[in-house]
């Protein structure tokens, strides 16, 4: 299966994966999280676990089970780690631990390497049987509610190592801490190469003209993604360059705030035949086709986690204009792989710059694709997890021969 990535991922990454998998042949690598479907973590595990198994690792993925109260508590913990004010009672912490204890009694936690994802299953460390245990925190914990983070740290510090997505999210926990950014899968439906026909089919189904440049933002309808700001920027651009704007986002079924934002955006963009608001599932092939058809892709977030949609856009070889928030500055090298902006005016100005100089836009898109190839593909993330395992296994030196 890993052979599908030959010619796509850097060959050094594939070679190191191969070497490390030879070292860990037949050994058990267990991933634990709290959901089988939905969200970026599950999406990557669905693809990474079979890849590891295909390389001779005894890779498993287990999901903890909990009652609605447990998930209510972990949602509060999640929000508090992201800086919201939450109150968690002693009884809630006890229930949080108790659910993990119950899970541990029915789970086979025996493995040479155990990677525990996010706060929900963090207390499982209390039931470690052996092997190396690493806590993988996908959340932005740069400005957490201190008392909640301190409580969670009680478990986190018991792990041998922790992994955060970007340096800003890391905390001084007194254990080895690695920075491993998330990644995209270049052969998945939303990122694989498409034929011109497939792209055209999507455009014609949604009635999007191809006679003018297309601007695109793909994101949930969420205030932090600033969809109305994108419409304002598009209107500023349209005075100079006749263009089309597509806002494509996932339906906000479980988020009342999302519904409100969507109707605001619809109201704000009413009556403009060149503005398309599309509700699409996030893993859809149509998203892929829209990105490939776009001339400039925006991700004008005001607040962001890592913002992997940026890498997805860059992988399509497109110039991108992104808000300087969360993990976006790690993906966009200003002026090289795209432009970082801090305002609606900035976004409009950079889009005009790209539309007025298509050669620069193409060069940026091509640099963007190479940057993603070298830094944000699933093979790099897989390589890094194996490298952390090797580091722990080989006495934790800073220089290791494989």
């Amino acid at each position: 299966m890993i052979s599908r990535y030959a010619g796509i991922a850097p060959k050094g990454d594939l070679l190191l994966i191969k070497r490390l998998c030879e070292r860990f042949q037949g050994k058990r690598f267990l991933h634990v999280n709290s959901t089988r479907e939905g969200g970026g973590v599950a999406e990557i595990l669905q693809r990474m676990v079979p890849l590891l198994a295909g390389m001779g690792i005894d890779a498993r993925w287990m999901v903890i089970e909990g009652d609605p109260f447990f998930f209510e508590i972990t949602k509060k913990i999640h929000n508090a780690l992201q800086g919201n004010s939450e109150y968690i009672t002693e009884g809630m912490w006890e229930h949080y631990f108790e659910v993990n204890r119950r899970n541990s009694s029915v789970m086979d936690l025996d493995a040479e390497m155990v990677l525990v994802h996010d706060p929900q299953p963090a207390p499982l460390i209390e039931f470690r049987k052996g092997g190396h245990w690493v806590w993988r925190c996908h959340i932005d914990v740069s400005e957490p509610q201190k008392v909640i983070f301190d409580f969670l740290s009680f478990y986190a510090r018991k792990y041998e190592s922790a992994v955060f997505s970007i340096p800003r999210f890391a905390k001084a926990l007194g254990i080895d801490e690695f920075i491993i950014p998330p990644s995209i899968d270049p052969v998945s439906e939303k990122n694989r190469d498409l034929t011109e026909q497939e792209v055209e089919e999507t455009l014609s189904r949604f009635g999007i003209d191809t006679d003018r440049p297309i601007l695109l933002q793909v994101s949930r309808f969420d205030r932090f993604k600033d969809p109305t700001g994108v419409i304002q920027a598009y209107r500023m651009v349209k005075k100079y360059n006749d263009c089309i704007l597509v806002l494509a986002g996932s339906p906000a079924t479980d988020d009342p705030e999302g519904e409100r934002v969507l109707s605001e955006v619809r109201e704000y963009g009413k009556g403009d035949p060149d503005l398309h608001i599309l509700l699409l599932p996030p893993s859809d092939k149509d998203i892929n086709a829209l990105q490939r058809a776009a001339d400039v892709i925006l991700q004008k977030s005001l607040k962001e986690g890592f913002g992997l949609t940026v890498s997805e856009a860059m992988w399509k070889g497109k110039p991108i204009v992104g808000g300087a928030a969360g993990g976006i500055p790690l993906q966009i090298i200003h002026g090289v792989t795209g432009f970082l902006v801090h305002s609606v005016e900035g976004a409009a100005f950079r889009v005009r710059q790209i539309l007025s100089d298509p050669a620069m836009g193409r060069a940026m898109g091509s640099a963007a694709k190479e940057y993603v190839r070298n830094n944000f593909l699933i093979t790099r993330q897989m390589r890094d997890y194996l490298a952390v395992w090797y580091f722990l296994d080989q006495g934790r030196g800073n220089v290791l021969r494989v």
């Binding site: 850097p10 060959k11 050094g12 990454d13 070679l15 190191l16 070497r19 740069s142 400005e143 955060f164 340096p167 800003r168 890391a170 905390k171 001084a172 926990l173 080895d176 801490e177 690695f178 920075i179 491993i180 090298i333 090289v336 940057y371 070298n374 390589r383 890094d384 490298a387 952390v388 090797y390 580091f391 030196g397 800073n398 220089v399 290791l400 021969r401 494989v402």
Partner: protein, 223 residues
Amino acid sequence: MEGQAPPFDFQQTISILKSTGKKAQNVGELREGIAATSDEAIFHHTYQYFLKGHVLEYTNDFAQWAGETLEETILSEHLSNIDPYSFKSMGEVRKELLRVIDRYLERFPEPRQAMTGEEFYFNESVALIFLEGVRARNLAEFLMAVKYVDPGSIYFHFYEARSRINAETDDFSKWFEEGLGKKELARSVRAIDPFMHSIEGIREIIAELVERELRLDMEEGVA
């Protein structure tokens, strides 16, 4: 001589980032951080700058942060002028960084604050070194290989080689001189300024120099 030369085995470095959990928000805190951080962190932010593949307007992470984030351009110019390869130990590199920052702070004692989220994060890295599986037995094979090996391999042999104990040069020129007896080619490779090129730029220059040497060899053979 080429026939008996020891082969050149291309190796490669891939590094993963390790956080110290420490950060700095202004030049004063950067100074304190540099004074207190590990040798591994100093190594990462100076010697390993070229492994990151970003745009090389500066020559180390400290200079880049001072110039890009704080817009302390004078400091970034001074920091960029530090050549870590000219020092014999990490302690000396650290001392020089502190000397440059102290001199700057004497002139500009009220440095700017970085915005939240744009602080300097002190990191280290873990380097994994492995054989690329590519071997050159002569200059022609070397030319083909150097064009296609991973950037991490060029980094390992051209940059990382200089930071090894008692190493004063890169692996390529060493092999050209000691393995192949190509003193002139070795001299040309050593003359490349390591700070003024990206890894791809270094690859291109070396390939050009080797190709020119091969052409000369062939012309001499015909003559």
